[in-house]
Amino acid sequence: MSTGGDIRETPVPVPGVFFHSAPAPAPIRLFALAWSLLLAVLAVGCSPRQRADLVVHNGPEPETIDPQVLTGQADGRVAAALFEGLTRFNPVDGRAIPGLAESWEISPDGRRYRFRLREGIVWSTGEPIRAEDFVWSWRRAVMPATAADYSAQFFHLENGEAIVTGKEKDVARLGVEAPDARTVEVRLVNPAPFFLELAASRIFAPIPRHLVDRFGDQWIRAEPLSCSGPYQLMQWRVNDRFRLRRNPRYWDAASVGTERIDLLSGDNAGTALNLFLRGDVDLIIDRKIIPGELGPDLAQRPDFHRFDFLGCDFIRFNTGRKPFDDPKVRKAFALALDRPAITRRITRLGERPTGAITPLGAGGYEPPQGMGLDVEQARRLLAEAGFPEGRGFPRVEYTYNVGTRLYEQVGVEIQAQLLAHLGVRIQLRPLEWKTYLTEMSRQNYDFIRGSWIGDYNDPLTFLDCFLSDSGNNRTGWRQPRYDALLRSAGAAADPAARLALLRRAEVLLVEEEVPVTGLYSYVGLCAYRTDRLGGFHVNLIDEHPLWSLRRIAPR
């Protein structure tokens, strides 16, 4: 035992005095040191920050805010605050209104647009924005080397598709030109009635060439960042926030309602709700950041606002695999689903059950009914396909992604309905998100949950997914008649005739061949107090420009 050394080392104190005079032993000294260090760290690490004039919960941390390569909705909201295109979205109804272009002319055949830029528009760093900037930016966006996932939006421009798919190497052949510094001329393949709205989307905004030349792909990280939109970027901290400040050089700076906005990034819906309830967040703008289980209850509150929007859940059948290679089986399944039961019991936000793919209201389009519940016919079709009363039906799996309870519950409901209505016992196959995506695009499934959100307010954004060669088809269904119908709809100059052709195509898709069948179209929820925040409007395309937002009551 050598512990005796301890006793010898320390002088024996006079009783009653040492409590005050003796130096503290090592562990306690260490302790005091550690605590003072901690407090120092705290003082440095946690400098208090002033609350922005408006705090918006923007949902998950964006992957990128580069308007040419972004794909996410949260990403797009940041980019839309910083960059503006020829047109911008009307905050009320989401239709296109003049942006950097003050006016435009459309040729009688609907295929040529001539935009007139505003006079004296500049980047937030002072450089002028000219028509050539649009031409240069759009050409950059379509170059495969830019790797812009969304460059399919340029398929509507002359040679856009050829360039994006690498068949045409000369980007100068893209259908856009700048005859002078204030004129942008666009040539479209088809008279696309939605082009003005498309032009307001992120990828059509010009980007600052002077920064791209200097910083390359990471130009968006330049400080200061040249912005063309109502806001400029002050700070970007991953998983924390974007701090935006009004761009004083924005052409319409006078209409920008808030000086400083914080866009918070986070993916915990419960936390977003807590922040909102405490008043630390003024607006939850991301519909996915509302806790799913609480949705129906929250929707009853006056500060939660529900809205229909362009998105839907549906089912893909693998038409390359038995038994779903037989349209009768696909139809039988589609007819055996009680969609209203799903929206009534599970989703419960007032979603519209539909067997179609296109939601109601897209560009004035009336979607077909699609398949509704018809147990008798479903059984007959299944019997005709060789499975009377579901006898001898092979083992099939319904694949869906996990992450929210909702899809699990929908899966169980579908399982129960198919058993009750067709006598078919299906298995459920929950997959993690990336695995689910891989299995879907490799077509390694029997039938699978699908979803789609419209990129612009037109049925085409849903229907062109199921073209034979579309990468979004993922069902193995190839129907030349469908392709031809969409082609002739594209060429149709008369808007009513065009919509009729699109409807004919959708009938083929969801009622006759049924490689896919709709479940319900989406309803979103966002949160704000109407007595505190003005200028926010729900709309079908879920577009809410930040410039129109303003606080009403002083805090």
Partner: protein, 305 residues
Amino acid sequence: MNGILKRLALVPLLAWLVATGGFFLLRLAPGGPFDRDRAPASAEVEAALRAKYHLDEPLHRQYLRCLGGWVLGDFGPSLKYRNHTVNDILAQSLPVSGVLGLLAAGVAFGIGIPVGAWGALRRGRWPDRLASMLAVVGICIPSFILGPILVLVFGLQLAWLPPALWGSWENCILPVLALGLYFAARVSRLTREGMTDVLRSPFVRTARAKGLSPGAIVRRHALRGSLLPVAAYAGPMLADLLTGSFIVENLFQIPGTGVFFVNSFLNRDYPMMIALAVLYSVLLQALNLGSDLALRSLDPRVRHA
């Protein structure tokens, strides 16, 4: 001294093994960083994207490329957060997790040690029972239960403290408690056991026999020895705390490193995942070494062994 050098030499070796293992194992997971619910505009665009991050090269080439970066401490670009490099994100998030972790460690030691010592000194009596009960409760309630309870009570009902976010000292309190109380409970148990053992030992009897007051015995003689189990535990505990907690950071929306431990895998963000594995392995080894050094300074038996 020799032993320390040997262990230091092992640090880069183990880091390399972890990084290499991570590199190849992660590629076995289905799906890739750029898979999303809509197809890219064209096969050419997809190919360009993969080429941009060298994912089109054969795996051994990619590995050598990464290895070159690792040697220089550069983990490359994040495949998920495409405007940031991995080092960039870690530079932003590690200090946050570090502050949170250090404060939580402060709670763990600051509450755990006194409570444990108190329990040992009143062994078998009500203070001991109370401390033991609290410790068991603390160990049994995971942070994903404790956190929401703290938020509900102090963040929403009483509205004393902000329910989430990071920035001021008020923001620190709830997450630090949610994270630190569990460790405080563990530390108090360890201190109690250590102290109980020490109080039974002959040198304490000697100290008592020569007339030292109980307080003096604890402060001057017993405390040091009773901290041995705590010191051994402190290394791994600190490694856990300093790299952040997924649950607490996610719940309080704190921009720390902990959330990436889970999300970077879900996102198939290979470089991020590897960087975190390396970071954790280096930190764990360093802190274990620190623990051993602390043991040596606390316990002459280890020193002279």
